[in-house]
């Protein structure tokens, strides 16, 4: 299955040409997860960026009570996660878990992605600018959620 149609609908790749999208596609591999399956855990070493092809992924934070997690957002089709690893190489700041059976993700290795961005700096500029905008969008949602009474 070609990933190009999906990549055209991913806003962090907005502005890339067809040939540039093909270069990104060459970095991606497909993975399928089941409901409740953990994709990565908070504080894990991070090295991959994920794109949701189909299904939903819940992002959670550990809370002080042992064995408990707090859900902070649910991400659906076309959304990316794990992008902070692309930027700072730090450990995972949250856990990611699939909500539904058959959730399909595309996964790209950080080192491969950075290498492409350095080789083609136009790709690098567009992707990094868009990732910054995506993080701002997520912060706006968190701010709006915090204002919601309840």
């Amino acid at each position: 299955m070609s990933i190009i149609p999906l990549l055209k609908k991913v806003d962090i790749l907005n502005g890339l040409s067809e040939s540039q999208l093909k270069q990104v596609a060459e970095l991606c591999r497909e993975q399928t997860y089941h409901a409740g399956e953990l994709i990565f855990r908070e504080n894990d070493k991070s090295s991959e960026l994920y794109l949701i092809q189909d299904g939903h992924v819940e992002i959670t934070l550990n809370v002080p009570e042992p064995g408990t997690e707090k859900s902070i957002v649910t991400l659906g089709k076309g959304q990316i996660f794990g992008e902070m690893a692309l930027l700072d190489e730090g450990p995972r700041t949250a856990s990611a878990r699939c909500v539904a059976d058959g959730t399909k993700l595309w996964v790209a290795d950080r080192a491969d992605f950075i290498s492409l961005c350095e080789k083609d700096t136009r790709i690098g500029f567009i992707v990094m600018k868009n990732i910054a905008a995506d993080l701002a969008f997520k912060l706006r949602l968190i701010n709006l959620t915090r204002k919601e009474p309840g």
Partner: protein, 65 residues
């Protein structure tokens, strides 16, 4: 146009969600966030569109059974 929508659920019972939609959501639409359905009560454009992408914020409420 692709609509990237952030969803906040009234009452704080859901952490919120972000997903792409191919049709602009409107009041009264039902959306599935995770494994549950919610009804949209308000849609706002929060930042200007860029290229083929429009950025919206939708407030929802749980669908009563």
């Amino acid at each position: 146009m692709i609509y990237k929508v952030s969803f906040v659920v009234q009452g704080g019972g859901h952490p919120g969600a972000i997903q792409n939609m191919e049709k602009r959501p409107k009041e009264g639409d039902r959306v599935k966030l995770g494994d549950k359905f919610y009804e949209i009560v308000e849609v706002l454009e929060i930042i200007p569109s860029r290229g083929e992408f429009s950025y919206l914020h939708a407030t929802c409420r749980p669908v009563e059974k």
